[in-house]
């Protein structure tokens, strides 16, 4: 398979975008220390989410075209499972912590 010019420029755009997002995340973590810590966490998560979207769009070439219906379907399924696992893990670990180590973890 030949790499088409449009595909190459698309990859390059994606590369630059993800580079900017990564550097942004680093500068928030390292530089912006006067910002409230909660605010910084929110910003970091937001940047990470945008990073995922950029990579899906530019590196995995996912878009809204009708022939990609099944690809989107599998993507949504993956998102569903990831949310179930993440949510479940947070719920379980928080709950176990409340029951078992609440006193010890007060600091």
């Amino acid at each position: 398979m030949k790499i088409h010019h449009s595909s190459l420029s698309k990859t390059f755009t994606g590369f630059v975008l993800s580079l900017i997002l990564t550097l942004g995340a680093f500068s928030i973590a390292r530089g912006w220390t006067d910002l409230a810590s909660t605010m910084r966490h929110v910003l970091l998560v937001l940047l990470a989410l945008i990073q995922i979207l950029v990579q899906l769009r530019y590196f995995l070439h996912l878009d809204g075209s009708p022939d990609q219906r099944w690809k989107r379907w599998t993507l949504w399924y993956t998102v569903l499972i990831a949310l179930l696992l993440l949510g479940g893990t947070l719920w379980i670990m928080h709950n176990a912590q409340m029951h078992m180590m609440a006193g010890m973890e007060s600091s």
Binding site: I81, L84, T89, I92, A96
Partner: protein, 668 residues
């Protein structure tokens, strides 16, 4: 300097003071040498290398997967026999013959081997053989990746096997919970063998998952829409989906544990901010879908076998498909039932308990579908259908004990007891293994061109079935009597009769395994008598039976077009002779030595990491990268089979089919 070269390897790591291990090791090495010598004597090494080890043919890779699985089954079963004997003996004043530290390694190895290196390679072998044939493809989507996956699995298995004679294996159970599996409590190489054996094998499995998902998604024959896909391929599609979603969790988990152990980090330690409960959580996020990964392919096999030998279309095909998908999704919301007792609150336990009961519903749908397929069918009692019937009955018992364990209150009582051991063996032996055996007997002729001896196959089945009940039903009772799992010794004379019964059951299973070995040897001897010339020994329904036995390297001389579910059956019913089309040249993936080489390098990488031989790990890793580079730059990855060869082979295989000698064979 010495540690730089030899890491922590020392000649004391060979357990020469343990007669049991040394005798086993001596026997194994002798056997290997004899086999190696025999192959050399018959001048077959280069044949093996050219036609098998380096082959990218999915049927050959699949066969090698099954051979690996059967060898590992013998190892895992030997472990089972050792444990059952120990427990039958070690009551009161009798200590038994296994020291505790050895016994702990045996049950850890048994679990790891049976799940990762018996169940996984067995169904992966079957899906390798069957899926491309069922969907009308000439090979898988990524043939080279397939070879690499297989050899990575071999590398993982060999690491686990090597731990027998060099160092020791993990003593922390197959689930290796910290803090026991952390460096502080397990300083030796045992847990590292477990980590790297699983990690390397797991990466192979993950790549196979991707490979077969893409294969089924992209390479189905024209006309084979989703609802015309044979049910075994459907279950494999769902299985690969589970592999792709669950195995990365295992990869990350093992990486974190190895970082803890090797670099002194604190993910799962019980001090400095580590959280060992997170390990349990992550382990079962992989571990529970893993259960369905090994059982769904077996469900697919039962479905194929039931339909074929009942001479009826599968009852409730659509509900079968949706049940598989429902099981896949639900398998991701039940993992906490493995650790109800860890300390989460009532709400959490109730949610996961109910979810666990709900997953029994789609499974029950499947059981009813099999029963309704048999209902008013003309059931033929062949070996595959015997395995299936044995499965349906026994699996229902296991399913019900599972629903019982899903009640958190009951689980608090039965957790880590022999009841649990009985339950999950009840799911995995009749559930998964019986299915693989059914598939083995069912598809054997498609690969080798002759059927397996039925008499010995049936004897093996009955011994396995009766042996299973004798070996595991007493464990349910023992669980209720309060016996915990993994005991090397106990002080309760009431338990002993049950454990002796379990030993008798295990010996019956052993006899069953001997029958299977005999069945294979006899069948090879009687291969002319058992020769299968029609290509369709069972009057099958799906595409794999439309091609000759043994299947030629290109599978389909003409790629089929599918018009119906059970397309081959419909074609046969219509009574139309297949049109004689002209043959054309076929492009197939060329053999590549890089697969076995990468497997060997991965083995060295794992070995280096286990023994802290950093130079070896670095060299092996560089070698692996180099192999990928060489492969990427290789343009000659395919070879052309000329049309004349295709025609000659197809005619030879099909002409036998119409000879009078053969007709008399078939009617027998």
């Amino acid at each position: 300097m010495e540690t730089l070269i030899f890491g922590r390897l020392n000649y004391h790591d060979i357990p020469y003071d343990n007669p049991i291990i040394m005798a086993t090791l001596g026997g194994a090495i002798m056997l290997l040498l004899v086999v190696a010598f025999l192959v050399w004597y018959h001048g077959q090494w280069s044949y093996l290398w050219r036609e098998w080890f380096t082959s990218l043919d999915h049927k050959r890779i699949g066969t090698m997967y099954i051979v690996l699985s059967l060898i590992m089954l013998l190892r895992g079963f030997a472990d089972a026999l050792l444990m059952r004997t120990q427990q039958a003996l070690a009551e009161g004043g009798v200590a038994g013959y296994l020291p505790p530290e050895h016994y702990n390694q045996i049950f850890s190895a048994h679990g790891t081997i049976m799940i990762i290196f018996v169940a996984m390679p067995f169904f992966i072998g079957l899906m390798n053989i069957v899926v491309p044939l069922q969907i009308g493809a000439r090979d898988v989507a990524y043939p080279f990746l397939n070879s690499v996956s297989f050899w990575l699995t071999v590398a993982g298995a060999m690491l686990v096997m090597l731990s027998l004679g060099l160092g020791n294996f993990s003593h922390a159970g197959w689930s290796a919970y910290p803090p026991l599996s952390e460096k502080h409590y397990s300083p030796g190489p045992g847990v590292d063998y477990w980590i790297w054996g699983l990690q390397i094998g797991g990466v192979g499995t993950l790549m196979t998952g991707i490979n077969f998902f893409v294969t089924i998604w992209r390479l189905r024959a024209p006309g084979m829409t989703w609802m015309k896909l044979p049910i075994f391929s459907w279950t494999i599609l769902v299985t690969t989906l589970l592999i792709m979603l669950a195995f990365p969790v295992l990869t990350v988990l093992l990486a974190l544990l190895s970082l803890d152990r090797t670099l002194g980090l604190h993910f799962f330690t019980n001090h400095l901010g580590g959280n060992l409960m997170l390990f349990t959580n992550l382990f079962w996020i992989w571990g529970h879908p893993e259960v369905y990964i090994v059982i769904l392919p077996a469900f697919g096999i039962y479905s194929e076998v039931t339909a074929t030998f009942s001479r009826k279309p599968l009852f409730g095909y659509t509900s079968m498909v949706y049940a598989s998908l429902a099981i896949a999704t639900l398998s991701f919301v039940v993992w906490l039932h493995h650790f109800f007792t860890m300390g989460a609150g009532a709400n959490v336990n109730a949610f996961f308990g109910i979810a666990t009961m709900v997953i029994a519903v789609p499974t029950g749908v499947k059981v009813f579908n099999w029963i309704f397929t048999i209902y008013r069918g003309r059931l033929e009692f062949t070996t595959p259908i015997l395995w299936t019937l044995g499965f349906i009955v026994t699996f229902c018992i296991g399913g019900m004990t599972g629903v019982l364990l899903a009640v958190p209150g009951a689980d608090f009582q039965l957790h880590n007891s022999e009841f649990l051991i009985a339950h999950f063996h009840n799911m995995l032996i009749p559930g998964a293994l019986f299915g693989y055996f059914a598939g083995y007997a069912y598809w054997f002729p498609k690969i080798f061109g002759f059927r397996l001896n039925e008499t010995w196959g049936k004897r093996a089945f009955w011994l396995w079935l009766v042996g299973f009940y004798l070996a595991f039903m007493p464990l349910y009772a023992l669980g209720f009597m309060g016996m915990p799992r993994r005991l090397v010794h106990y002080d309760n004379p009431l338990w002993q009769p049950y454990l002796v019964t379990a030993l008798v059951g295990t010996l019956l299973i052993f006899a069953g395994i001997l029958c299977q070995i005999l069945q294979l040897t006899l069948s090879i001897q009687q291969r002319r008598l058992l020769q299968e010339n029609t290509g369709d020994p069972w009057n099958g329904r799906t595409l794999e039976w439309s091609i000759p036995c043994p299947a030629p390297a290109w599978n389909f001389a003409h790629l089929p077009t599918v018009h119906a579910r059970d397309d081959f059956h419909v074609t046969k019913q219509s009574g139309q002779a297949p049109p004689s089309l002209p043959y054309s040249a076929i492009l197939l993936p060329a053999a590549s030595g890089l697969g076995p080489i990468m497997g060997a390098l991965a083995f060295l990488l794992g070995f280096g990491l286990v023994w802290y031989l950093w130079w070896m790990a670095a060299v092996a890793l560089a070698g692996l990268v180099l192999c990928l580079l060489v492969r990427s730059l290789d343009d000659e990855t395919e070879f052309l089979i000329p049309a004349t060869t295709v025609e000659a082979t197809e005619r030879a295989l099909r002409r036998i089919a119409s000879s009078p000698y053969n007709a008399s064979q078939v009617s027998q």
